[in-house]
């Protein structure tokens, strides 16, 4: 794809299909769980690469991927499917979960802790040895083919304990915990994802790793790999490093004026 940039020249947009760089044995565990028909629970802070990891694995295993972004009001029918009223007729429409089961795909429930308890009930029989999906409204039970896999992610740092997964759901899962990558890997990710120069990548990573050590009021979230990538993309596109970091790295982190000011001062030293 080609896009026009501000100066009127055209540049190729970055390669969004580049793949996930592993930090340890997570790819092997994923592939093995898939072969053994076990569901996966992915843990890790937001922006640490969970989605990218699942995408890469789906591609490597040659399976289609259905992703559902979960939220508090997600109902069982959002997952399984529902009858719609169309011009006075009622028509059944498969939900993403049903489609994934039918196609032997990988079904990825993103941020599953946000889901309501009654939707997790649907998940249970799919996640345990039965591997079946109960579609009450149609009066059918679908048995998932061997290629089907359920993957759920959640961000441990953020929800209240009350909303936690039921232990019975949890025990059925193989758990993979992703962290923010080490400095060395994160630098390689930046190079791979954005193509900026090594020195800038190194500075950005040092800044990111430093911010992750901060525990101050007004800084609820850490600077994620995602924000480092956005910053690098802006720099690559011609935005001066300092402005890019302010816009894409420190800006999104906090609204607290004191914290922003302190971050800015810190950033100057790292990017100078």
């Amino acid at each position: 794809m080609e896009v026009a940039t501000m100066d009127g020249q055209t540049k190729p947009v970055r390669n969004r299909d580049s793949s996930y760089l592993p930090a340890g044995g997570e790819k092997q565990i994923f592939a093995s769980a898939w072969r053994q028909g076990l569901p996966i629970l992915l843990k890790g802070p937001t922006g640490c690469g969970k989605t990218r990891f699942v995408q890469t694995m789906a591609a490597e295993l040659g399976r289609p991927l259905y992703t559902v972004a979960c939220h508090e009001d997600l109902t069982a029918s959002d997952l399984v499917g529902r009858y719609l009223l169309k011009g006075g007729e009622t028509v059944w429409e498969d939900g993403p979960m049903t489609r994934a089961v039918r196609e032997g795909a990988i079904c990825y429930l993103d941020e599953v802790v946000e889901a309501r308890a009654d939707t997790t009930v649907v998940i249970h029989p799919l996640a345990d040895h039965r591997r079946e999906l109960n579609i009450e409204r149609l009066g059918v039970k679908l048995v998932a083919p061997p290629e089907f896999m359920l993957v759920m992610s959640y961000n441990p740092g953020y929800q209240s304990v009350l909303k936690d997964l039921k232990p019975s759901t949890r025990q059925r899962m193989v758990s993979i915990e992703l962290q923010f990558p080490s400095a060395e890997i994160e630098q390689r990710i930046l190079l791979q994802e954005t193509g900026i120069d090594a020195d800038t990548a190194r500075r950005l990573v040092q800044l990111g790793q430093a911010i992750r050590k901060l525990q101050h009021e007004g800084l609820p979230e850490a600077a994620s790999t995602r924000t480092l990538i956005s910053t690098a993309l802006l720099i690559k596109d011609g935005v001066p490093a300092m402005a890019a970091a302010e816009a894409a790295l420190t800006g999104p982190l906090t609204d607290d004026p004191a914290a922003s000011r302190h971050l800015l001062e810190m950033m100057k030293i790292y990017m100078a």
Partner: protein, 592 residues
Amino acid sequence: MTARKTLLNTQAVHTAVPSEYLFLASAIAGRRVSVHLSTGKDVRASADGQTIVLPDPRLNGGRWVWESVAAQAALIGADSLEAPIMRRLVGRGQSALRYVYLEVVRGAVLLADRMPSAFLALPEIRNAKARTRSADESLEWALGSRALPETPDYFGTVRPLGVLRRSVSENGWSALTKKQASGDFAQAKVPTLDDDDEGEESRLLKLLQNPLSRKNPVGDLLSKLLGAGMSKGRQQQDVEDAGGAEIPVGRIERALRRGVQSSAAAAPMDLPALEASAASQAVAYPEWDVHARQYRQNWAILEEVEAWRPDGARDMSAVLVAPPFELKRQLGSLGLDHEMHRRQPEGAEFDLSRLLECAIDRATGHAQGALDIYRSSRRTRRDLAVALALDISGSTGEKNTAGISVFDQQLQVGYQIGRTLDQLGDTVAIYGFHSWGRHLVRAVQLKTAEERWSARVGERFAQLEPVGYTRTGTAIRYGTRLLTQSMRLPNRLLILVSDGIAYDQDYESSYAQGDARKALEEARASGTAVVCLCVGGSQDAVALRAIFGSANLLMIDAAHQLSVNIRPVCRQALAAVSQRKLRRPAGAPYAG
């Protein structure tokens, strides 16, 4: 009385803080540290594990500032300031500087992933050989005589006494205070005890070689301070020799507190590079002068710090035990609010999406007489924010007859309440508080409101030690401010866990009580309920009632009695302010 003031006021402290380096310092150190300016003549930066003290910029032209911050933060981040090492460096100025050289270089390599590139590119760092791989190795090198490059000024230095000062307990201080007050101390004429002494021949070392009397509180204090650094033989001698050297108390006090008392800024300055205004890390609170019947504005300076003891974490397995289930039952019904429930069998309005589903079910022949088609509001939502303030002053370090300290019982109670409320879904912040006069009130962060409960909370508890004094009013104002300005939930509860003795420099008896009472009034006026919890039984019940009123006071003999009475006290306090809230909008009446 005046004598005591002299003792504690030897150096004035100001609040101006080079706040732009706050995050840099904390990020490299890997824990929260603050940055202060020295009022003294130091030309090198130093740190005590919680605070980095920069030289007065007028002395060195304000150059090399962030580099010094980075170097000192690296010392903290690389664990270079551990007590056993500091003890061996006391009085050895040259070795200390050599140690700094080796440790800053080691720290820069160790922490390279999060150090600024610009620091790593400094010639003294870039061209340095990595000679040592641990702090112990650096110490051996430093004490030896092998040649090393000169330690650049901007690396700063270490002040072993400044670091060790933190292990002096309240008892040490009050003994000193009493002696000073009774005029027992000879002032001056005796050698200086100060980190500034240079060389192996320092007067400090000589002083240590002189027997110090056990009866002399300073001797006591020194042996506590130097711990393993003093040989058995020497301590033996102490006991025998009752007439040991007297040390001028002002001097020792200054040395011990370096990094704290001397860590002041030199006034709200005419130096644009180092701004002195409202740094978010230190906030000035007012105090009520009951005698003059007016506020003293910007009086008590409170700073948020991270828990840290120079001797490392304690084993807390006997203290931080899981809360009893009964506590959860008791606290479960606090602070509930109305919440809309869908799919209810009865209620004030229809649940439209449910009705729609029913219509579809009907059309597809799945119809069953659905009853759950209403929305109703019920009192189930937890809208409670709780701030737990734990008194960690030296007086809580005293042990009861069973050998358990009030301090540990308070930590246990605080931990259990915090854990329980967090499990119930409430927003909980926990901090410890202590002070050394109005310029140095500290709120030690144990759990922030945003943070979810984790093992880290317990790790921070293990880094607490009972030192300093109690400025109750400031602790209450800080908690109120957290609840009203950061946590902002409709139901707010401040639980103060204290031995009840409000006592600090220039903060005692009627003045202290008057101010604490005033702080409570302010809290209630802003819609915050305050409860005081005393564990250990030995408190002055009359004084406590005078401050808190018997209704908001819970006194228990031991931590395990907590569950019995906590609910009625908290409920009553919450109910009292929720009535007020109707009359008066929330908002803190104080500056800050």
